[in-house]
Amino acid sequence: MVEQKVSVSNYIDKMFAKYAPAPFLSVVIEDCISKGKDYYNGGPRYNTNYIQCTGLGTVTDSLSALKKHIFEENNFSMETLLKAVSENFEGNEKLRQRIINRTPFFGNDDEYADKIASQVYNDLLAAIDGKPNTKGESFHLNMLSTTCHVYFGKVLGAMPNGRLSGKSISDGTSPSHGCDIHGPTNVIRSLGKLDQTKSGGTLLNLRFVPGLVKREKDIEKLGHLIRSYFTLGGHHIQFNIVDTDTLLAAQACPEDYKDLLVRMAGYSDYFNDMNADLQQEIIDRTENETF
């Protein structure tokens, strides 16, 4: 697959260089003028290409499910799982729930899953890194998915990690949606195990509700969390301070929001662990905060 992607990318680059050069862009990119070469034809000082990948969490968790339930514990057969996956787990909710709730998933500082994640990441690197491009340089791995993970998910069937057909796959290098259930410090430790210097970019998305960063000292602590991530070799971290819409979606589909932390009174809790009344109360409060 990588070979195909590399050859298509190279073909496109050659095509651009020949039929659709970018003279204006070349004027503002260093070295194009001194070399007398177009942006698409090796003019710039740096000519690296990147192949963007996403779904590290989804792939890791699926492999983890196979490893644990089929190869190690014989909880069910490969045939059973493949059939369930091909049928989008219909009539197999018990099996799906068992996988979701009894499998070590990426993002929990759990060696079992994190080792698989590192292997997936390193295998991707090995497959991509150094493949020659058309400009005398080479391809590198990049794990910024922008919004691709949503589209990829739309066209992808169910996965062995319990993810249903059509649902988004995990973004960038983030854990699967709702699978990091031990808080942000553990997510950061899991991500810190990847050698991020070897890729052209990674992304970790974390979701927080506004109540968690309400006071000055809460924001300071969030700052410390970010610094911890960089200390561990992290590259890029983003936060969603969620609004009411997200909370409503979390109510409609709690399984996708297992990691949604909310600030209650004097302590923080998972939105999913609270009953409908409490959730409604939080929703009301958040709305007040936005005014």
Binding site: L95, A265, M274
Partner: protein, 300 residues
């Protein structure tokens, strides 16, 4: 005997300075009517059942060696006269609708879990907080943990009701960098009514602890119809103003957020006439403390 741990919270940002890891020890001599963690009161293992997670798999009913479980239209019902809390139902539950609360950890295991948070702790000037329940109920274990954390240069916070043997408390104080000390009521009769115990020991211990020079953050739950009347708040402010040394004071406005957890335990949350103080009432409380020269922070 080692205590059971009923929760370990990481990225705890309300239990002392910096980013902390909070270890919750199970068992408490108090039974406050507003308790947020009803599962913290009994030192024994307990069972949580979350009906909304139950998909009716019924594996639990099959596996139960004591036939203690039945399926009703409200989900799985446990007959606690038959249930031996073996936890087999929780083991087979595909959705974790049934979960056992209270796990044994060795000192070594806990230290390893704490060590994993080290980068966050060092970065933020955080540390470890021991909460409960009442951690002083398990003073032998607590002291062991505190000493080990001390050896590792970790900031140690103990969150206490103050209802403990005074000598033990002072011994713990030698190994503690900060106390989060709960103060609920000065009126002894009311204290007994709302928490199940007298407050003489709690008040005495707070004084003794303050005299010992310990670093104390006093935390006061603010609950209408319990302790927000002028008389009570004035007495509380007076008591605090007479303590030697300086203590940070936090007022924590009440919320009926615990209901859900009571349901999970199969218990009923009786709210009596407890209500949340309005912003106006909170400010009034702040003013009463200020009139004694005491600065307080709401929340935290």
């Amino acid at each position: 005997m080692y205590p059971l741990i009923f929760d370990i919270k990481r990225y705890a940002i309300n239990d002392g300075p910096g980013i902390r890891i909070t270890i919750f020890l199970k068992g408490c001599p108090l039974s406050c009517k507003w308790c947020h963690n009803p599962e913290s009161q009994s030192p024994e293992k307990q069972k949580f059942y979350t009906a909304s997670k139950c998909i009716g798999a019924q594996d639990c009913i099959e596996v139960c060696p004591n036939n203690a479980l039945t399926l009703s239209k409200n989900g799985i019902v446990t007959n606690y006269e038959l249930c031996k809390l073996c936890g087999k139902c929780a083991d087979v539950c595909p959705t974790k609708a049934i979960e056992m609360v209270g796990e044994l950890y060795s000192v070594q295991q806990l230290l390893e879990i704490i060590e994993r948070e080290k980068v966050h702790i060092e970065q933020s000037g955080g540390g470890v907080t021991f909460s409960g329940g009442e951690p002083l109920m398990h003073s032998g274990f607590l002291l062991k943990m505190l000493r080990e954390c001390g050896k590792r240069d970790l900031h140690r916070t103990v969150d206490t009701t103050g209802f403990a043997d005074t000598k033990t408390l002072l011994e713990v104080a030698k190994q503690t960098d900060l106390f989060l000390y709960d103060l609920k009521l000065i009126n002894s009769e009311k204290h007994k009514k709302w928490t199940g115990v007298n407050n003489q020991l709690i008040l005495k211990n707070l004084k003794v602890l303050a005299e010992s020079g310990a670093n104390i953050n006093i935390r006061i739950p603010l609950i209408n119809n319990v302790n927000t009347d002028k008389d009570e708040l004035t007495k509380m402010a007076q008591f605090i103003s007479e303590l030697p040394g300086e203590q940070a004071i936090n007022l924590l406005p009440y919320h009926n957020i615990a209901k859900n957890k009571y349901n999970k335990l199969g218990a009923v949350y009786n709210e009596f006439d407890m209500t949340e103080p309005s912003e106006k009432e909170q400010n009034r409380a702040v003013k009463i403390f200020q009139s004694f020269g005491i600065e307080v922070e709401i929340g935290g």
